[in-house]
């Protein structure tokens, strides 16, 4: 059973995943979700709606900016992209996560 990640647990992780998903260009909400799920080879499953409050919070805090646009099917959707602050925050979060997993990995190996 793949572990469920909802908006209340691993909240910080979700932010990092979203920021990371947007690192290569603007996407609408569904596409972001697909990136996260696909990218994890379905190891993570996010409650789909939980994404949106996270997106709106990031937008409110100035890490993302959004505008309405058209998909290739010409449907109206809201597209998000990283702001300069968002990009910096992404780098910081990546570095922190790397340090965190390094420590854990070392600890595990020592015990092992």
């Amino acid at each position: 059973m793949t572990p469920r990640i909802d908006s209340t647990s691993l909240y910080g992780t979700l932010n990092l995943l979203v920021l990371s998903a947007l690192s290569s260009g603007p996407l609408h909400g569904l596409a972001i979700m697909r990136q996260i799920v696909d990218g994890s080879e379905e190891a993570l499953q996010v409650e789909e709606g939980a994404l949106y409050p996270a997106l709106h919070r990031l937008e409110r805090d100035g890490l993302l900016q959004a505008e309405w646009g058209r998909t290739d099917q010409n449907r109206r959707a809201r597209f998000y992209q990283l702001t300069a602050r968002g990009r910096k925050q992404l780098e910081r979060e990546r570095a922190r996560w790397m340090r965190h997993t390094d420590v854990v990995r070392r600890l595990i190996h020592e015990e092992g």
Partner: protein
Amino acid sequence: MRHSSSNPDPLDREVRDELDFHVGERARELMAEGWGRAEAWREARLRFGDVERIHRESGRLRRSARARARRRGKMRALGQDVLLAVREITRQRGLSAIVVLTLGLGIGFATALFSVVDGVLLRPLPYVDADRLVYLWQNDRATGTEREPIGSADFYDFRDRTRSFEGVALWGMYSASLLREGVEPLQLGVAVVTADLDRVLGIEPELGRGIGAEEVEGRLGEVVVLTHELWRDGFGADPGAVGTRVVVDGVETEIIGVLPARAAVLMGEGVHAWRPLRLTPASATRSPHAYTAVARLAGGVAVEHAQTEMAALARTLEAEVPENVNRGAFVEPVDRYLRGDARGVMAGLLGAVGVLLVLTVLNVTNLLLARTRARARETAVHTALGAGVARTMRRNLAATTILTLVSAAVGVGVAWATLHAMLGMIPSSLLALGAPTLDGAALGFSVVLALALGVVLGIAPVTSALRLDVRGALGRGRGGDASTGPHRMGRFLVGAQTALATVLLVGSGLLASTLYNLSRVDLGFETDGVLRMSTSLPDNRYPSDFPQYPDWPEKLGFVRETIERVERLPGVLAAALTTNHPLDPGFTNSISIEGRPPDPERGEPTTRMITPGYFEVARVRLLEGRLITEADDHQTDGVVLLNRTAAERYFPAGDAMGARIAFWGLGFREIVGIIEDERVHGLREAAPPAFYTSLLQTPPAGGELTLMVRTAGVPLEWARPVRDAVAAVDPQLAVFNVTSMEATLAGAQQRERFVASLIGVFALMALVLAATGVYGVLSYIVSRRRREMGIRLALGAQPAGLRSMILGQGMWIAGVGVAGGLVLARAAASILEGLLFGVQGGTPAPYALSAAVLLAVAFAASAVPAWRAAAVAPADSLRSE
């Protein structure tokens, strides 16, 4: 913007759309995989989660984001406004400087006067529910006095035979010396109080304990409670002072506590400590009337009711007790007694400040109007293009608020300087209630005032600019006639300000004259360089043994030795001891003249006991005969001197010399000399008749003596050596009231100086207002008639002609104002009559001088715009339209 079902928030719609898109796409995907339509949608929604909850949360977040964005936008707009305002202010440096100066003076004076009012009136008395405290005076129908102290027996009647009061307490006053190891002796004003004074007043001692029943009974020995001020100034605010022992009036006494600040304010000035009043019903007497009673009104009792009850009690006592004949009662609220006089003055001051501030605002508005006028067209265009009234108003407000806040900073400096200058002139009776300082309240006042002024000044010009016909402004571009509407108001206003300035200048002139005339009065004695101090000889070491009179060796010895020691000090030209210094009227005594029947019409002369050096110290002139010398002592025949008024009054035939007079029930003494009058009642009143005897022949029964020393320089520099000399004679004596005769003289003119300084301050302000007013109005005229001036110059008019036209306008306004002001001043001068000396309300010189000053100032203020008018290049003015 409040959203509701009839006024939906577009954000809700957006969130709904966004979430719908997601769910819709998911459903489409599933349908593409072969799901049925209904199942696909259901599955999509299932995977999505609780749509409503997410919709709410997202909605909240997006609204929050929107609010943040709006705030940021506002801050940015405000920042822009401030920047623009600062640029505009610095661009018109001259005008801004004048505005800041005018406002700074206005705010500064207002703040200074606020401090005075706050210090004196607004600071509450340090008692619980102070408005319930009343003095219980008696009054005397025979002599017509309104407030009399009472006898100690009266206190018990007041306390026990009335129902209007929750508590009644009593105190009396006397002067005592306080000695400590290694510290200079102090002379204190001591109040002896009954045990319940603390409770009646509602005060708690700051340290230690207060005077209670035990202390009054005397079971714990002699005790004293210090006032906060004495503890601070004389004991360095040392908490360890409580519990120590000192010697008060020769008796060992324990300091048991310290009173809270200003606790003794209801006793008047000069109370430094409290001691218990050893009073019991058995020891109480009807006379002397040496005590003051204070009471707290019982709950719900009005002063009038208490007065009625006390008056009835007084009548009862009159019938019961012969000493109380003609003595009525007067119940007076403590607050009213202490602050009554001040209230009228303060109200007047506040009113005057209010008027001045209103004039300042109108004046500055006028000044700013010239600038706003120039920008009026720009503003009109902006408004037409939709910039919005609010935005323009905000920009204006930013500009004026910055100006007023800067002015407030200037104003604080002005307030400080004004208070500093005025502090020396405020009567000490007002200062005793509270000293005005530039504290938080005053600074807060100036900030609030500045902000209020900023708002008023910001709104006024904008509203007047808006009244412009927008279309007219965009079209022809020429304003209306220069004498319409707001313009006429402006000129009238300046005229009024000029009139006000005239009135105040005349007042200042009259008072300055008065002070000058007072300074030239021949007092009959010279005060410069003279130091004085007083000391009190206690009975126990300086007995007054009446059978031995005048052979009182201790007192005579003190007098001789002190004079000797002080005269030996370097720089001392002469020294003398006296019972009264030259500005102390002293007591009067009846005299009998040998060989003449008593004549009550003569009146009583004032008694002055001196040592021979007095005439050199005070430089009193001898008219006839000789002065008293060392040779006249207690073993030789009695001699006496008269002053001129006494000689003329009692010996109109001129036969004073050699005549003999008697007083105090002693034998007759010979008049050996006549000296010039000393104006002991001060500068204004003529000298009373006086006689002088030598302390070496007639030592005083009372203990208080004043030492006067003529020094070769600044008197107070000799204070230390002279004190040491007195201490060398008797180390246990304290000296007090150490000051110079010049300071005493200045103190006698306190009222005149205070009023003079106040009017001077207001006159200065009014002058500035008048000057800036004239300048402002003329600038305004010039700016409005720019085009006309340009045309005139282009058509060959002489610049000088234009200049004189403007100058003429300015002088005309000022002239009318001055003329009106002179008339008003004559009327107002009658208010000052009581203070004037050597001038009348109608003396022409101050009027002429004030008119001249104002016209000169108006000329200067008119000159700048006049020159600017003629300097306008004709082409420029035409183009500016």
